[in-house]
């Protein structure tokens, strides 16, 4: 627990974890300044843009990565529900800071509250044997109601700060929140890298996965916890209201044009990054909200993907391979 001379993140015990992240942020900022010098791009001259771009790039990887598993389980809306509980977490953070005069990052409390809500949704669904949209809607509105209530109790100057959480903001990505996002990013990528086989099996065929000895409920819990992390991480730029779009839209686009699951993950990440990078550029030059621009671009890319996908099926219809015979029995003619 060595306390640094300047305490960047007020949660003191976490300093050893965050130290390398701040170091990386400094390194990244240096790199961005170098790029700015080479290209002469005006938007790369500001420190907050360096962080915003890094956060955007991370969102572009982790949101579609987790979203791919969610969308194919028909759980697209869970992201929305968790984002709204994340808002409650932000409100809790602001409230606690105001009452006890602390300096905890609201994103930290948002992660915690959102993860608790995620487990809650999962446990409800385990008890009732189904993910139902009613319980999801209840959790969503409870989260948002709690958030608005807490903020209104605090009143005063806080209302100004809330916009940043609701709609996201490039300019307010602080060192602290960027560091939190990097930490979430590392955890999410690590967990998915380790359990990708199991997550895929459970996503594709829950019963067969259970028969093969996987604990389906545990992997479901992991999945919703990861979703909570992604949503809160992405909230900084995307805002509460639009964050779920990054989980869904690039994935929907990718499933139009991909054949395999691995390919669809890669394509969805490429599409998301495209939307994020273009979106940050456009929103900077047009002085528009980044979250909105990114989602609009993502939807435009989705439409293009749908058209491409249709063209793909039209042109691939001709080459239907012959079905092979069953090797163990007698030869069977192709039944196409």
């Amino acid at each position: 627990m060595t306390s640094l001379p300047t305490i960047p993140l007020q949660a003191g015990p976490l300093n050893p974890v965050f130290e390398p992240l701040y170091w990386f942020l400094k390194l990244w900022s240096g790199f961005m300044s170098w790029v700015a010098g080479m290209t002469g791009l005006e938007l790369l001259q500001y420190g907050f843009m360096h962080r915003a771009i890094l956060v955007g790039l991370c969102i572009g990887v982790m949101a579609p990565l987790i979203g791919t598993f969610l969308v194919h389980r028909q759980l697209a809306l869970i992201g929305d529900a968790l984002a709204h509980t994340g808002f409650a977490g932000v409100a809790v953070g602001l409230f606690v800071n105001a009452v006890f005069e602390l300096g905890i990052s609201p994103y930290l409390t948002a992660v915690i509250v959102s993860m608790i809500a995620a487990l809650f949704i999962e446990l409800i669904s385990e008890a009732t044997d189904a993910y139902n949209d009613v319980s999801m809607a209840i959790v969503l509105s409870t989260g948002f109601a709690l958030g608005t209530t807490l903020i209104s109790i605090n009143a005063g100057g806080l209302a100004v700060g809330v916009n940043q959480f609701l709609f996201g903001n490039l300019a307010t990505v602080s060192q602290d929140s960027a560091a939190i996002l990097l930490l979430l990013f590392v955890i999410i990528i690590g967990v998915v890298a380790l359990t990708r086989n199991q997550l895929l099996y459970v996503t594709f065929d829950e019963t067969a996965a259970a028969v093969s000895g996987l604990s389906v409920s545990w992997y479901n819990r992991i999945m919703v916890l990861l979703t909570a992390m992604v949503v809160v991480g992405a909230m900084q730029i995307m805002g509460v209201i639009l964050v779920a779009a990054m989980l869904v839209v690039p994935v929907a686009g990718a499933s139009q044009v991909s054949r395999s699951f691995n390919e669809s993950i890669l394509v969805s990440i490429v599409l998301a990054e495209l939307a994020v990078i273009l979106g940050i550029g456009v929103s900077y030059s047009a002085e528009a909200t980044a979250g909105g621009v990114i989602v609009l671009l993502a939807v435009a890319i989705y439409v293009v993907a749908v058209v491409l996908g249709k063209l793909q099926t039209v042109f691939s219809e001709e080459d239907t391979p012959e079905m092979g015979s069953i090797d163990m029995g007698e030869a069977k003619p192709s039944d196409d």
Binding site: T207, A208, R259, S260, E263, S264, I326
Partner: protein, 262 residues
């Protein structure tokens, strides 16, 4: 890998349960207080080709879930490969094929990726070795789907899709193949080929347990028929089942049962 069950080589006490792949004795189960299956006792031994038939709502799928340990019996004992079913975690020994033909999941996934899942219980958190990939390719070859390996599963016909799922079960090198109404939504021609494949696999030593509503297919292909409607109405050779009146009794009472419970 090996089809030897370590439990079957150790002769312990009675030795009756260790020889069976599936062993149910006096099993009752109900989702509510109304029993869905009642007093079920049956054993499936290695190499058998058994079919569970019964009208809709007769508890066929529930019985299968009890056998596989997905549900726990309210009364009685369910054993799988000699272990209590719900504790059984040697998942690679069981291949499971459900009614995928009609399920239109829009997920982008190729046939090879589906078959690859059969190796997941073997590799755990690791990656597939080249040996694992060989097994995947062999399974694809056995069901005649090699040329479809990189196709999206959603683009396949119902029959082709079911072959892919059989291949997944083969890739897991399962001793027991459990199929839950596998031919729903599959065209007639493919159904024939599908049953020929099951016959061939059974002759190769794989135990086949089929849950089926198509009585014609069952009596033609399976060796043993278990006729179920809440309780067992018939359990014996397929030939005797055709001559018995079990069918009429099991299906005849359905009308009353359905009228009462649904």
């Amino acid at each position: 890998m090996s089809t030897q069950n370590p439990a079957s080589t150790t002769s312990s006490g009675t030795g009756s349960s260790t020889e069976s792949i599936i062993d149910l004795s006096g099993v009752d189960f109900g989702y509510t207080s109304t029993p869905v299956v009642e007093d079920i006792s049956l054993r499936v031994t290695p190499g058998e080709y058994a079919a569970v038939v019964g009208p809709n709502g007769s508890g066929k799928s529930t019985l299968m879930q009890l056998m596989l340990g997905l549900l726990r019996p309210d009364e009685g004992v369910a054993r799988l490969f000699g272990e209590p079913s719900h504790q059984f975690d040697d998942g690679e020994r069981i291949g499971y094929v459900a009614q995928h033909a009609s399920a239109s999941k829009a997920m982008p996934i190729t046939v090879r990726e589906v078959v690859k899942m059969g190796r997941y219980p073997h590799v755990g958190f690791g990656r597939l070795s080249s040996e694992d990939w060989d097994i995947v390719d062999r399974a694809l070859d056995i069901v005649g789907m090699t040329s479809f390996a990189s196709r999206r599963v959603t683009q396949l016909s119902g029959g082709q899709r079911q072959r892919a799922f059989i291949a997944r079960a083969l890739a897991s090198e399962a001793d027991l193949l459990v199929l839950d109404e596998p031919t729903v939504g599959v065209d007639i021609e493919s159904v024939e080929a599908f049953y020929d494949l099951l016959d061939a696999l059974n002759q190769d030593g794989i135990t086949v347990l089929l849950i089926e509503h198509d009585l014609g297919a069952v009596t033609e292909h399976a060796d043993r028929v278990i006729c179920l409607n809440r309780e067992i109405y018939f359990d014996g050779p397929a030939g005797e089942f055709v001559e018995s009146d079990a069918l009429a009794r099991a299906f005849g009472t359905t009308a009353n049962l359905l009228g009462g419970s649904r």
